[in-house]
């Protein structure tokens, strides 16, 4: 008996090391980001978060347009991806025959495995022309009274980037939601039917409420990917440092500016500001994730 206790204790302690490693890793990243961006933090302070200029020549740096672009593109991507993802998951788990379910599941996993640069190239050569000649003129014509669908139509811009992001994050939402829905105990569903529920009512009352934490988890995972996505977005968003309400106009994201400018940044303040952008990106991810958990 005693020996078994001891092995349990050892096992527990060994296991406890692993989460500790994660803690050390996150702490280390945070520490390095703060020390490496100290020059920029000292120079700009909190105004860094509210300045709309990014000027490497006159060394005046602010993160606001990038924060705005990151949040806007991720938010619009979620708006597109959630209905598609959730709808697909419910259909596959509840309505589709087993064979269809299996084929689609492997297709969806395949989508999740495509590298983002491939999505970016596809975006430039296929999606952007479609957006410019078909989708955006259509939106401008019928929804042009809204400020989101006004202004010149280049094809590249926040909306196209959001569409690419939505395509990239939909597999996450589908996979997680489908697993969660499948995990709802059969007896609960049967209870709902026994009470005289229609299928829609059963899905609404039992499955979605029982699976809510899991589905939200999937959406947060997807949101995290959208906020941090770099390559595909950089290729499509237009990379223009400005804040515009229109989804047609080009924008810029935190991850994109780092990817674009880090290699050539050689002045100290410039480099330090780029690293502070990384710090801001980390905080944006943390804040958005916590908010999402609170809200949903």
């Amino acid at each position: 008996m005693k020996r078994k206790d001891r092995s349990d204790i050892i096992f527990r302690r060994v296991l406890a090391v692993f989460p500790l490693l994660i803690l050390i890793l996150v702490g280390g990243i945070l520490f390095k980001l703060v020390t490496a961006s100290s020059l920029s933090i000292q120079k700009f302070g909190f105004t860094f978060l509210f300045t709309r200029t990014w000027d490497p020549v006159f060394e005046n740096f602010g993160a606001l347009p990038f924060i705005y672009g990151t949040l806007l593109s991720s938010f619009v991507a979620l708006l597109i991806a959630i209905p598609i993802g959730l709808g697909t998951a419910i259909f596959l788990a509840e309505y589709a025959p087993y064979g269809v379910q299996r084929v689609f599941s492997s297709l969806i996993d395949l989508l999740a495995a495509i590298p983002s640069v491939i999505y970016g190239l596809w975006g430039i050569f296929v999606l952007v022309p479609i957006m410019r000649t078909n989708v955006q003129p259509f939106l401008g014509k019928y929804l042009g009274f809204l400020p989101f669908f006004q202004g010149p139509n280049y094809g590249v811009g926040v909306l196209s980037a959001s569409v690419i992001l939505a395509i990239m994050i939909v597999p996450f939402i589908i996979s997680v939601s489908r697993e969660v829905i499948l995990a709802v105990p059969q007896v609960y569903k049967e209870a709902a039917y026994a009470m005289g529920s229609t299928r829609w009512e059963a899905i609404q009352t039992i499955i979605l409420s029982y699976g809510k934490p899991g589905i939200v988890g999937g959406i947060i995972l997807a949101l995290g990917r959208a906020i941090g996505e770099t390559m595909a977005v950089t290729m499509i968003i237009g990379n223009n440092v400005k804040i515009s309400a229109s989804l047609f106009s080009p924008g810029y994201t935190l991850a994109s500016v780092i990817a674009n400018e880090f290699a050539e940044a050689s002045d100290k303040l410039y480099l330090s500001s780029l690293i502070e952008i990384g710090l801001v990106l980390l905080f944006v991810s943390i804040v958005v994730n916590s908010l999402a958990r609170l809200l949903i």
Binding site: W54, D55, R132, Y154, G238, N240, N260, E264
Partner: protein, 337 residues
């Protein structure tokens, strides 16, 4: 058993001797623009001199400057000269050695207009400042009487990533427009007044090709390889110059070149020179830490500026003028190893 060990250690010793007399490995890092010619040179040079091996990482000019300053590489490479601050930060005196020349061309997407649209410096600056917004602006049509220019919005497209190509381009705009110089200035990335950003030459040319009314800038070699439509630019003499290797090389003949070669070649006074051109440099220390590597690098540079220049044309770089080659030889004589 004992015998086996003796043989084994003998083999080790022989291998050790062979290693000591083996190839000199030289590491470099920096600019992406000259990467094709550098890798061709390293390849050809290792055929002539198999004892020297080069390893070059094309991580960008900024990275090249950082690494040579930190002495993590034996040479750096850059498309824009180091700033005085950067020079002061380096632990020793760094020499800039020009290797080849490149040009930046203005490319556009206008239906019915092939290459040869005429653009003057003030018009180019005003387009990129956002002051001229239509293709049929009277200033553009005035110097292009033969072209039918549409009533179309101009869509400016620039590099989104930091780049030596951008440096040369905005260096030119700064030298021809005081408004550009005061509002935007020159660096590898700038705060663009208008336009869309594409990543890399391929990103810019992709956007220009797809966007009716688009105008952007790419390297000359990239434009020729991809058969892009490019503009003829007005030089200081008032002539409109077609960008090609010859007119790019001429740019170095209209500018007084200082002994340290840290000079901009844009807006050359040579009437036959294309005005948006520049050197790309190798960065090496004047006092080399390692005698063997130092000699190998200097020997390589001597070869590259003479015999090596014959490979430039095929790879679409402009060769160095003879006068510059002579100056480099003097400069190399000052290097100590």
């Amino acid at each position: 058993m004992f015998k086996k060990i003796t043989v084994f250690s003998l083999v080790l010793m022989v291998a050790g001797i062979a290693f000591a007399g083996g190839p000199v490995l030289i590491n470099g890092a920096g600019a992406t623009f000259p990467y094709p010619i550098y890798s061709k040179w390293f390849d050809e040079y290792s055929k002539i001199n198999p004892t020297v091996q080069f390893n070059y990482q094309s991580i960008g000019s900024g990275g090249g400057i950082k690494q040579i300053t930190a002495k993590t590489v034996d040479f750096g490479a850059t498309d824009g000269p180091m700033t005085p601050d950067q020079m002061a930060e380096a632990p020793g005196r760094i020499y800039h050695i020009p290797m080849v020349m490149g040009a930046v061309v203005v490319t556009y997407n206008l239906e019915g207009v092939d290459k040869g649209l005429r653009i003057s410096p003030d018009i180019l600056a005003d387009i990129f400042l956002g002051n001229i917004t239509k293709w049929n602006d009277s200033r553009i049509t005035a110097i292009n009487p033969d072209q039918k220019l549409p009533d179309q919005d101009i869509v400016v497209i620039h590099r989104s990533d930091g780049s030596g190509t951008t440096f040369i381009f905005v260096d030119y705009l700064s030298s021809v427009s005081s408004e550009w110089k005061n509002k935007v200035g020159k660096a590898t990335s700038v705060n663009w007044p208008v336009g869309l950003g594409g990543k890399g030459n391929e990103g810019v040319s992709g956007l220009v090709k797809q966007t009716p009314g688009g105008i952007g800038y790419v390297e000359l070699s990239y434009a020729i390889k991809n058969k892009l439509a490019y503009a003829f630019l007005e030089s200081q003499s008032g002539k409109f110059i077609e960008p090609d290797l010859e007119s790019t090389s001429k740019a170095a003949e209209g500018v007084e070149i200082p002994e340290d070669f840290r000079v901009s070649l844009v807006n050359s006074s040579n009437p036959a020179a294309y005005p948006i051109a520049g050197f790309t440099w190798l960065l090496i220390y004047k006092n080399m830490d390692d005698a063997v590597k130092g000699k190998a690098i200097v020997d390589f540079i001597k070869w590259a500026i003479h015999d090596g220049q014959k490979y430039t044309e095929k790879l679409l770089y402009a060769p160095l003028p003879d006068k510059v080659v002579e100056m480099i030889e003097n400069r190399l004589g000052q290097i100590k190893y």
